[in-house]
């Protein structure tokens, strides 16, 4: 896969992931071009487009378009299901995901994508395992938080404890 773009019906880019080295201006140009092309498609048209020497595979979920550019020999249908699996992962993690979740928690959307696809290839296709990895990361943060909280309590108690003797 060369890149993945998530954008709204208004053409606002919500997530961009690039798996090939490109300059910022190239990325902007490509995004504009692809978004324009995909938004011009009517419903019921096929989900695949020839673009340059690559293929664009896209699918619309509610207000969001998910769009991948893949190499010419890549399998279109399986790419379509890559998109779907990613949507499932987001959905499961956020609980009925909507566009706003991705806007406000964009960093999470990136983390989930990184667990699922790396360097443009599927890394782990099991939904359970991907979500477990993300949850574990979330837990790691929580443990540390509670850990610090405990530490505070401890310090507090020591201070309180020593208080009467003063």
């Amino acid at each position: 896969m060369q890149f993945m773009l998530l954008f709204s019906r208004q053409g606002k880019l919500r997530l961009q992931k690039w798996y090939v080295p490109l300059s910022d201006s190239q990325k902007k140009k490509i995004s504009r071009e692809v978004i324009q092309m995909v938004l011009a498609r009517k419903p019921k048209m096929c989900s695949f487009l020839e673009w340059r020497d690559q293929k664009i595979v896209y699918k619309r979920y509610a207000s969001l378009y998910f769009c991948c550019a893949v190499e010419d020999q890549e399998n279109e249908l399986i790419t379509l299901e890559i998109i779907h699996r990613y949507v499932e992962l987001l959905d499961k993690y956020f609980g009925s995901v909507c566009e706003l979740d991705i806007i406000f928690n964009f960093e999470k959307a990136y983390y989930i994508l990184d667990e699922f696809i790396l360097g443009g290839e599927a890394q782990e296709t099991s939904k359970k395992i991907v979500l477990k990895a993300i949850e574990q990361a979330d837990m790691l943060q929580e443990v540390r938080n509670t850990h610090i909280a405990c530490l505070f309590v401890l310090v507090y108690e020591v201070t309180i404890g020593s208080f009467p003797s003063c």
Binding site: D53, E76, E81
Partner: protein, 983 residues
Amino acid sequence: MPAVSKGDGMRGLAVFISDIRNCKSKEAEIKRINKELANIRSKFKGDKALDGYSKKKYVCKLLFIFLLGHDIDFGHMEAVNLLSSNKYTEKQIGYLFISVLVNSNSELIRLINNAIKNDLSSRNPTFMCLALHCIANVGSREMAEAFAGEIPRILVAGDTMDSVKQSAALCLLRLYKTSPDLVLMGEWTSRVVHLLNDQHMGVVTAAISLITCLSQKNPDEFKTCVSLAVSRLSRIVSSASTDLQDYTYYFVPAPWLSCKLLRLLQCYPPPEDGAVKGRLVECLETILNKAQEPPKSKKVQHSNAKNAILFEAISLIIHYDSEPNLLVRACNQLGQFLQHRETNLRYLALESMCTLASSEFSHEAVKTHIETVINALKTERDVSVRQRAADLLYAMCDRSNAKQIVAEMLSYLETADYSIREEMVLKVAILAEKYAVDYSWYVDTILNLIRIAGDYVSEEVWYRVIQIVINRDDVQGYAAKTVFEALQAPACHENMVKVGGYILGEFGNLIAGDPRSSPLVQFNLLHSKFHLCSVPTRALLLSAYIKFINLFPETKSTIQEVLRSDSQIRNSDVELQQRAVEYLKLSSIASTDVLATVLEEMPPFPERESSILAKLKKKKGPGAVSVNELEEGKREGGELNGGGERGGDGSAIAASNASTPSPSADLLGLRTGPPVTAAAPSAGSLLVDVFSEAGVNDDGFLRDLEPPTESSDSLLAEGPGDSDSAPPSVVSEDPATPLPESNELLNKFVCKNNGVLFENQLLQIGIKSEYRQNLGRMYLFYGNKTSVQFVTFTTTVTCPGELQSQLNVQSKTVEPLIEGGAQVQQVINIECLTDFTDAPLLNIKFRYGGALQNLTLKLPVTINKFFQPTEMASHDFFQRWKQLSQPQQEAQKIFKANNAMDTEVLKAKLLGLGMALLENVDPNPENFVCAGVIQTKAQQVGSLLRLEPNAQAQSGEQMYRLTVRSSKDTVSKRLCELLAEQF
């Protein structure tokens, strides 16, 4: 599931995002962002050390702003700091920022690599994965240098966690793609291959992508993967739909892995081992059988996953092209899909059938679907599906159905979408030629093409019809008659006029017996179109006229009249005028014999591959026209054109181009024929003889005969095939000599630091530079504008002559390979030792499609880059001005303004120069004065400048007087030279 973002919710971030979303206008958004950027900047610069949380929050905000499409030029350091935080989410945000805002700022890269190194050796799998993800996301050469040795070890180590192995495999893949020279598998090869046997399906899924890529490059070393892949595939295919638990997707067992296994097998020929092969064929049969089973779910995901495997299996069957039974079954299966209600499946079936059509085993089976495909061409609502249908019709075309298919395509052309017309035209032209049994059909078809879609008929197409008519004398009379009739239409396309002019000029005599098409009627018909045509066509018509004089002496006076008219002989277009003059002279001076020799009928063209085919190949990109098709084209085309020898792919384009040069290609130009270099002199000398007798200057004719120049771009335009015709780049012979325009390019950058340094049809070089004190850093961006990779790309920066001791320039080596459309960056560090005049030279060498490109430019490093502005009051300025009063310290120039005298523009340029622009110093407010100090390692050179515009000089021209004074005479002189070019 957990409510999101608990634990590490960043309230400030959420508030900021809401604010942005509530902005009513783009301006409001930019205002809000600028406010936030100022805030973050002050926090980062503040004295108070930020805690990890705040740092994370601000870095995340910056990231958000960047992703909105705004530029971010700070915060990298803070992000790098986060990498070494021991709090997971801080580290995570740091890595995300680095991954998204890759910036090969060399100092940072070192710090980033250090942090990654620490995490990789932390033995904490979560941290290791984060670090690996970062490498895979950035994938830069620096990272490959640092980690390409370490990652294979992690990948195959026995104690590595599965998740880390998965990340390591894909990380390595990414590094291999960017820097294949640095990723050496060697001793690891067999252990990597054996990952296909890993019990963890996730590990296999990740590893197989790496193995596939490595196998494509080194098939022999990895060939043991074939039997492993087959047995893995067999286990998956024969498993029940629930066996693989979480790797079953909508009742389809491991669809991703299955597709990847089938793809891996496509890197190899069919297995030689009978048992392995038997097992594989069994798998493929099972997959085909499953397609006939009723679906286990109504969900589209189920059918997509199942069909993804099916299509991949069909690809493998086509790749092997050795199992007739499987090929025919595949074809039947695709036939069912042709009428499926899912548009996606119809599209893919058409696409896949295209490749099946080229196999001798399935070609006939594909042909049985012709009616369905024609129907698709007519009724599909989606243009991309219609395009596939057109492709398939083209692929399934052979002698038996050519007339039907060409007729259908022609009728489709009348209503076809503009986007695909040109390609359709090319296809029709190729099919008509390839399968022509009688040439009248061919001529009819091409003339129809021009009539229906004249605008889309490229030069190759009409060149080709002429080549064929010239070579086949049995069709010449018919062609003349048909084109004569076509020209009767009141409005006919210019391409028709070109073909008409050419053919009648050659073979008009064949129809001249009929009084309805007598010579004068022919001439008048052609001439009636003359005034509506473009210059190249008119030029061609003039050549046709002179040929008429030879063919039909009775038209001589009429034509001479026309040539003599002011609109010809005094035409403002130099080409037309020259032709008129020369043809007129030729017709009046040369004897009939000489005339007959010069204007003899065109000799047959040497046989060669159709340039149209080459054009279609180019249009569709490599691989779109299969080798089979080409071979077939050659075979059958050879039959058609008398089976002469054909040139290789590359020379074909060049040769056909040479034979029909430039839009002003004309009868005489064609005479040279390919190979142009050999033929041109002889033809040329013939003409020289003629004209030396006649005493006419022969320049014009010789020029006609020269190989095409810029006007033939459309044909010569880059493409992998035409290596013979050197791409039209600016290539200087001597690598040490910079391009002639490099001084001009240098001048462009005196007052600015960023921009495009150089651009031609292949390469674009962008530049970004920054200077501080006597040091500078320059980023060069080499962009490959073509779709073909540049190989052995090397650049050298040299300081010629005494510059060596004045500047210290160090450049990093740049990656030797630039993929089509990609860009690579090079960093150059510059130290100014003492003042200097010349500019360093940048030499660039690379191979493009086999041809060596070599160009030398001047790097825009000029002495003023090392200026430090100096603010001073009026009194100080004049005092110093007086101090620098020795004659050699001053340089002065009076010069004409090249541009309008716009105060704001002038100010901007002077500021760009690097000096301080001093207000209220000069008593005359029109004048500009500046002050600055040039920083070199050896010394500092104070410089003062005064620019006096004179909008109404006596001469009526706008003039400037520029005076520079500085403590060193060479500096004054150089600054004066540089600046005089700027205004």
